[in-house]
């Protein structure tokens, strides 16, 4: 059995940042397992710019951002295996993986960092009625075909979902010669960044129809058209509002789902709100020594925060290894949410383990204007920050200062909520 102190599942931006951070924390027995033919994860197909504003104070394209971290991994000579698929992880941290060169192999890990990223919601999961022709793609699959294979998936495109991937592909398809006829969005607001609405839709006069969805797909062999309808407050199509669009392609950008098959398989407790693992202040899951970061933990909007989160996970994985992989006593305090935030990462904190300031991230469930983000330690309000606007499409953060924990030695509960005043 091969042994590594830390095994990182997935060599995308989260895995790379975790590896570098773990290494710099003093643990050098590290292995990254990556299923694709290169490191960098999804960034390899994100050829647009906008990455790295926070991390590098530069606006980089996806591949450039990835290369910054790949370079750090190479400089440190951190080991990695490409084209290697992890099939299973046991609760005892034995990883079973497979590739062409090594066949089937097992690795005993001292600590594991889960950084498997996420997948896209499919047409099937959306239950869109109609025929099932060729030409219905999730935006990410289309992005791979265009950007990495150089193929056009279609010429006349309708896009369902105004999340960033849908918006980016609206521009991408247009620039490669396709006609994007409309972007339909189920909710009354777009889930994507404002800059993408301007630079991907407005720049090209592509209409955005909020509160609309696709109710029918035509075409027995290849898409021939779609029908869009307006939806009511319950998100149900309103009869009589149907509009037909002739097209040969339907791209879907309707949500990302953290890829936790391996996590579930090993018994890691999953939060049904995020579909990612419950983690504590160290980003450790319900299994001691198993950490999670990046999109597999909760879907992010900015890769910069992924890198930051993953660096913390890597550091903590290294600390776990160095402490002899003993868990020790934990005093868990739950974080509750009220009136706005749908969840927090982390969901529990042991104050004794908080060394410096602790970042808590969350998303709200609807657009909220001119309210305050508040954090209570028991009954004391310790954070009260005005936020002119909060939206489900923009992940929020609050910083819990070490001082708050020191000032509340008998802390029993932390609450994150949104208040009017």
């Amino acid at each position: 059995m091969i042994n590594y102190d830390i095994v990182i599942i997935g060599g995308g931006p989260a895995g790379l940042a975790a590896a570098v951070s773990a290494y710099d924390s003093g643990v050098h027995s590290i292995l990254i397992l990556e299923r694709d033919k290169e490191l960098g994860g999804i960034l390899g197909q994100c050829i647009h710019n906008g990455f790295g504003l926070h991390t590098f104070k530069e606006e980089l394209t996806g591949p450039e951002y990835a290369q910054r971290y790949i370079d750090q991994v190479l400089e440190r000579k951190i080991e990695y295996k490409l084209r290697s698929m992890v099939l299973e992880i046991s609760p005892e941290k034995v990883i079973t993986a497979i590739n062409r060169e090594d066949g089937l192999f097992e690795i005993q890990a001292g600590a594991i960092v889960l950084t498997m990223g996420c997948r896209e919601r499919s047409r099937g999961a959306l239950n869109i009625p109609g025929f099932r022709p060729a030409g219905v793609y999730t935006a990410g699959t289309a992005q791979r075909l265009v950007n990495l294979e150089g193929y056009m998936p279609g010429r006349e495109v309708v896009i369902l979902g105004s999340g960033d991937i849908g918006l980016i592909m609206a521009r991408r398809m247009t620039l490669e010669g396709a006609k994007v006829k409309v972007v339909a969005e189920l909710l009354p607001y777009s889930g994507g960044l404002k800059r993408n609405i301007v630079q991907c839709l407005n720049d090209f006069d592509i209409p955005l129809k909020l509160s609309h969805t696709v109710v029918d797909i035509e075409g027995n062999e290849r898409v021939e058209g779609v029908t869009i309808a307006e939806v009511d407050e319950k998100l149900k199509p309103i009869p009589g509002t149907e509009e037909h669009y002739t097209c040969d392609t339907l791209l879907l950008s309707c949500g990302l789902i953290p890829e936790n098959e391996l996590s579930r398989g090993m018994g890691v407790r999953i939060n049904p709100v995020t579909s990612g693992p419950y983690v504590n202040e160290s980003l450790e899951t319900s299994i001691p020594g198993v950490f999670a970061a990046g999109n597999v933990l909760h879907v992010h909007d900015l890769v910069d925060f992924v890198s930051e989160e993953a660096a913390a996970a890597g550091k903590n994985a290294a600390a776990f290894v160095k402490s002899g992989m003993a868990e020790g006593e934990r005093h868990e305090i739950s974080l509750s949410v009220e009136d706005g935030p749908r969840y927090t990462v982390p969901s529990t904190i042991d104050p004794a383990k908080v060394e410096g300031n602790l970042t808590v991230r969350f998303r709200v469930g609807k657009v909220i204007r001119n309210h305050f983000v508040c954090v209570y330690f028991d009954q004391d309000r310790v954070i009260h920050i005005k936020r002119p606007i909060m939206a489900p499409g923009e992940m929020e953060e609050v910083l819990l200062k070490k001082k708050f924990f020191d000032d509340h030695p008998k802390l029993a509960k932390i609450t994150v909520r949104v208040e009017e005043a």
Binding site: G44, I47, T61, N147, L148, G150, E176, K194, I389, A391
Partner: protein, 122 residues
């Protein structure tokens, strides 16, 4: 005199901006912004809107099965030239090795700005 509406993209707030423009195209006033970045954005966007353009071209000789290399304009180019930039990339193939920053097409579409590679391909 004309009033134009824009949304500022400087930060997630997305302030709706109202810009008063003279008949000769001069910016008379910017309203609706809640910080100086909004004012700067509105002025630039209405007088000289620019964009970074990203795309892909074919790559030849890759050992790892790559057929495309991603690229970008080194800095922003006039918004009106986006399609010309793309047209200028038609038919271009580059051979390995490619490094980030390698010039794919110099002075693309006559903008004075180079199209450079954004990926390492060997």
């Amino acid at each position: 005199m004309d009033k134009k509406n824009l949304i500022c993209i400087g930060c997630p707030l997305g302030c709706p901006l109202q810009v008063t423009v003279s008949d000769t195209g001069e910016i008379i006033k910017v309203e609706g912004n809640t910080c100086p970045r909004g004012d700067a954005y509105a002025r630039k966007e209405l007088t000289n809107p620019t964009r970074i353009v990203t795309s892909t071209v074919r790559v030849l000789g890759s050992k790892n099965g790559y057929v495309t290399v991603s690229c970008k304009t080194k800095t922003d180019v006039p918004k009106g030239k986006i399609f010309e930039v793309i047209k200028d990339l038609r038919g271009i193939s580059v051979s390995v090795p490619i490094h980030i920053g390698d010039v794919i097409k110099a002075n693309v579409a006559g903008t004075g700005i180079d199209m450079v590679a954004t990926k390492e391909i060997s």
